[in-house]
Subunit: 539 residues, 2 copies
Amino acid sequence: MRRFVADKAKSLFHLSRSFQRRPEPLNPLQSLLLTRFLSSTSIVDCPSPSPSSSTMDPPTPLTLHTINPKVLKCEYAVRGEVVTIAQRLQQELKDNPGSHPFDEILYCNIGNPQSLGQQPITFFREVLALCDHPSLLDKSETSGLFSADSIDRAWTILDQIPGRATGAYSHSQGIKGLRDAIAAGIEARDGFPSDPNDIFLTDGASPGVHMMMQLLIRSESDGILCPIPQYPLYSASIALHGGTLVPYYLDEATGWGLEISDLKKQLAAAKSKGLSVRALVVINPGNPTGQVLSEENQRQIVEFCKKEGLVLLADEVYQENVYVPDKQFHSFKKVVRSMGYGDEDIALVSFQSVSKGYYGECGKRGGYMEVTGFSADIKEQIYKVASVNLCSNISGQILASLVMNPPKVGDESYESYRGERDGILSSLARRAKTLEDALNSLEGVTCNKAEGAMYLFPRIRLPEKAIKAAEAANTAPDAFYCKRLLNATGVVVVPGSGFGQVPGTWHFRCTILPQEDKIPAVVSRLTEFHRGFMDEFRD
Amino acid sequence: MRRFVADKAKSLFHLSRSFQRRPEPLNPLQSLLLTRFLSSTSIVDCPSPSPSSSTMDPPTPLTLHTINPKVLKCEYAVRGEVVTIAQRLQQELKDNPGSHPFDEILYCNIGNPQSLGQQPITFFREVLALCDHPSLLDKSETSGLFSADSIDRAWTILDQIPGRATGAYSHSQGIKGLRDAIAAGIEARDGFPSDPNDIFLTDGASPGVHMMMQLLIRSESDGILCPIPQYPLYSASIALHGGTLVPYYLDEATGWGLEISDLKKQLAAAKSKGLSVRALVVINPGNPTGQVLSEENQRQIVEFCKKEGLVLLADEVYQENVYVPDKQFHSFKKVVRSMGYGDEDIALVSFQSVSKGYYGECGKRGGYMEVTGFSADIKEQIYKVASVNLCSNISGQILASLVMNPPKVGDESYESYRGERDGILSSLARRAKTLEDALNSLEGVTCNKAEGAMYLFPRIRLPEKAIKAAEAANTAPDAFYCKRLLNATGVVVVPGSGFGQVPGTWHFRCTILPQEDKIPAVVSRLTEFHRGFMDEFRD
């Protein structure tokens, strides 16, 4: 057998430089492999140094000036300063009840329904519990505790998991049988085929968005078209990946309309600046704006993306949250296919999550993205990035398959499931309307209808005296308002500046999620606060 | 009330340029806010363009040449080419039984115990099921199905979750009560205090590693010292974040020893190249190498990091996997504190996961990092990045608290828990020894002991004829060997080139995870294959 480099020649890189340590020159294959290994990742090519560490530079301390500036740039208002204050107040209330003019903090800053008392859908939780502890399925008592169809569904799911091992890493895209179920659910929703190999299961929608930004953004010269106002996941993710957010503006005066003319204008402007615009983000139903796009508007968006070669990133996590009878959710996949376009025409990614809808299972961190219109070699790259994190959590995967395939007519759980679902959705619609009306009754406040999603995004016209007071406090006027609101009422909302807004206009985002028995209190606290605020700062 | 910018003036950026659209010039506060919003993320500053889209460049198609080159560079061998072939073979076996000289694929490529039949710890799964479906706790049948202490534990955990809402997003670092429990577990392990505010719960260790790389890496000029061989999460994550891997070499001849002299030499060499080296990765117990560091060696590493101002990234996910009586796991946190060093002396991140140990709950995606020695403002930045993804999954969070606080003597589950735990660990030790002996008995193969972790990393001395055959097939010799092994036996192992190795040496990584009743078959298949391979290619 041929004698190779001695064990002691430990450095890969000394080979190419310090020949005295290498008994034989590299053969062609070794050279090839060395080149490959060096090119596959940036690896420093170390010469044989004189190890005189005394001549080294002093260590660079880790400070805000020496961390990745992209991290520093990134902002995420949904859990920003106002929420930090709220957490402090909550602790103060706990340590010292009665220390504030309210007895609880109402977190209306974030779409987190179960944190405000929404109950999970029983069927979903039954299936999850059985899959978490499958030996329950062998016990006779179980049939008295669980519905028959939850037991059936748990068996079906376990049979789809190799070795029934719910504690094993799955395929990097998610368990194949669950992807089959999700694809079937998409087909039932859209009336067009869905390929389970296009589905990537994710720990909620956010990691999917990050993955796509990572794929698309090469440098600050790459732009992503995003709505303003937008959900700050997008600005944060673009900042973290070092790209440039290209804003397009939703028109508040027309119920947060999305105008193709503005898209075109912003794209042209970005291109004239030398940007390469790679993708368009559409959030439908809108966050923070709550509008539901018409099918006609969606067709225009598809044509625009097709013509401009943009990847369409469709945030469709609120697809089950539509509250007005004259609007309906249409997936972009369905719109694209109904226009006769196939994989070769347009690259489309649809994001879905178990956190929203009527289920609101935020803590489970489940979701998927359906990736269509990408070439096989690009999909391999997405697969590779997914593989580095191995897989998304299996409970979240199971739940994603359940929300896309809930109980059907005739299943034992169907009636209770339907009751829970419809109860939540109709209550959300009532809450949206009550809060919208209450906001519109306030002096200087106008609020568009929440057609869908979980938020209202009222505009507040602040008196100049309030703006000056905010200025003196070195705070944005909307943040000033929101902090005052929190300190007076315990209600947590997010300043509009965290989402982007036309300058000189001020908004806040408020969820519609407090339980119905709390809504009157929210309305009266908000109304009373606002009246006092306006009186205090009236010009 | 002051009249503001008209609703129709939609572009943030027109403000600064197209004065005709803005009724009034910006006041100082508006200017300040505009500047802040523009600097918080890169947002293109759009002038008023002539919307002549006909003059635009044609769209750039999405190809391998136009995606983020960092994604292209990233490699992750643990789920690389050999695994893709294995998945194809598995499908072929399913579609056409008898089509290969084996009847199942044995995935020894990845530390995924439950995929190979390891059973979960009953107590952990009982608690998870109860937390998934808390209404079980109100039913009388439940006490017949669940152990008393699992019921108690579920109540304790639910009481720690605001509103008992296991379906709600938690605090971005994880549920405070669970972090308290984890901190208590760390204190019990180390004998030194742990602060729950230093704990960040994560979806497994990988997202924690990514988060730290994202924080530390600014550009290719930033280096991270990593062992070679290394777990490819590190090379992949450094590639994705655009940094440079600075290798240091573990010495195979001394059982994969970590020599400070090599660390010093590689650091000096990297610095002489102009790199700013920011952190040192240590994997203990080692992956893929299986060695367990001595406390003395760990002290040297700590001194080195302290002197050089390096962040110590301690991958301690195999802390429960030690198989030899003369070695013991010591956390770096304990070593640092026992040397009298505090937060002001050294920045240390310890990564732990629910995927490894005796629990092997890979699919649950739970874990944490304990972040010590960072200033408050840097920790705020880590918190912000964690917030962008909202929180890790709650089941994984609960499980992380359980593995750090398993049943205690006197608890109803203690005996069964101890039996399951010890059974798994002693079986792993036997499997490691059997496979190590079998590998060492093969011609041209030497294999260090697996003192810990879940892998063996044998060196194979390949005949020149085999190397030439690999060259002809445009394949690395170790990958050539592994693919032949897979095609002949169905056993999946990972070529050493995926982890890094001294050039001209060839290895593969093989887990010790097949169940004990399968080990004889693995050994005989491997032995028979190796004999045939050597005969075929003997010089």
